[in-house]
Symmetry: C2
Subunit: 248 residues, 2 copies
């Protein structure tokens, strides 16, 4: 059940905080839409990065542009073990192990794959439940759905996009998604895939290998110089145009 907690408006964009009660636990989320919106519109799900949450600055900035310039609605929720959500012992153990490997320069890939498999097992059904609930709202409706997520948002996004036929187009990247290589092959919708050429967290070859594996006939890799968190701003313009092309 979707329960709205607060609502505000700024520069033409209405922001509604909500909680969705699920069979797992309560999922805190935010829905952005054009002020005074009525009727059906495309909906973009944004999956945040590791250690972030539903209203991390990069999430909110994208959401507001997608709404203000594209007329879309955007929804983001705290991923399992993120934001204010509880961490199980297994979450905590894997997150500590991942941090230790990054600090010592060890190979974090197998730990990340295990952590992402654990989280995705919960996030995929949660996000599908979020879609069910949000698309019942009068000002959202059952229009086409897009997905935007990089880094953790890609590792969780790949199995979500593969499992959810309502998703018609996705922007992914900054991940090898070693947890979900087979799911990548099942994806056939248009993709834009981001690679940071000097990514200190994801080996270049891992990103290229994931791009190679997607089943989509239309998939474009956008690679830019810089480290993991240095995706250039013009890629936000590109995401917006990509969604406009495929969801309108």
């Amino acid at each position: 059940m979707l329960r709205f907690i607060s609502q505000s408006s700024s520069e033409g964009v209405t922001e509604q905080s909500f909680t969705l009660s699920s069979s797992f636990d309560d999922i805190p989320g935010v829905l952005w839409s054009p002020d005074a919106a009525t009727g059906t519109r495309p909906l973009i799900v944004i999956g945040h990065g590791g250690g972030q949450h539903k209203k991390a600055p990069g999430v909110e900035a994208r959401a507001r542009r997608f709404v203000a310039e594209g007329g879309f609605a955007v929804v983001a929720v705290d991923s399992p073990a993120h934001g204010g959500r509880p961490q199980s012992e297994e979450h905590s153990r894997l997150i500590a192990e991942m941090r230790a490997r990054f600090q010592t320069g060890g190979d974090a890939t197998p730990v990340l794959a295990e952590l992402h498999t654990l989280i995705a097992g919960q996030s995929v059904p949660e996000w599908r439940a979020v879609l069910d609930a949000v698309q019942e709202l009068d000002h959202i409706g059952t229009g086409p759905v897009g997905y935007w997520g990089v880094s953790l948002g890609c590792a969780l996004g790949v199995p979500f996009v593969a499992a959810e036929p309502r998703v018609r187009a996705a922007v992914l990247g900054l991940s090898g998604a070693e947890n979900a290589a087979e799911a990548a092959e099942q994806i056939t919708v248009p993709l834009e895939f981001l690679v940071q050429w000097d990514d200190e967290m994801v080996p270049r070859a891992a990103g290229l290998a994931l791009f190679d594996r997607f089943g989509s006939a239309e998939k474009t890799l956008h690679a830019n110089p810089g480290r993991h968190h240095e995706v250039p701003l013009f890629e936000m313009d590109s995401s917006l145009r990509f969604f406009a092309r495929h969801l309108n």
Copy 2:
């Protein structure tokens, strides 16, 4: 000396055929500009692909869009040994050798590098002379210059962009430009670089290696599935926006 041969207009775009007399030989070219244009505007040089010419369909389609939608002027000339231009014995020998290697599945890279070095030695000064002449025209003027060229247009474009400070932004790709690796390092202007993921003529690694080598702080690699000649149409939109961002 620039001598106009013919002029026509269609859908708001004026096309002027010309011949430029140079110290090498007469260079046939085409200049596209908005109808009734006056004053200075950005100018885009398009370098055609191997075996093509100044009015190949892909060149003309791009030129007309850049003019009609971007308000730019566009110039293209027949590259040395292309279009109606004479081939020296060395041109003919290298072209025959290149074709033989492609047909037998041999390694064409060293022959291509030799051929492109030979042609670029002539095309770089020619294109600079074309810029000199065209920018003297009242409806072009000395505005910023862009370059668009893939395949042969990249192999000749890399040394041209490196040598010509008037070029402020370039779209390149579909080539390893083995003739011009050192020139690539000298390029510092913003680049968009195209790779065809299943290119049957250019090994994927060669394209990625060239992208790696460019000195530009802003460079974006766009990779798409498909063979050498299957660059998706939406990349034309992307080129147009890229030039609009950097030349206006």
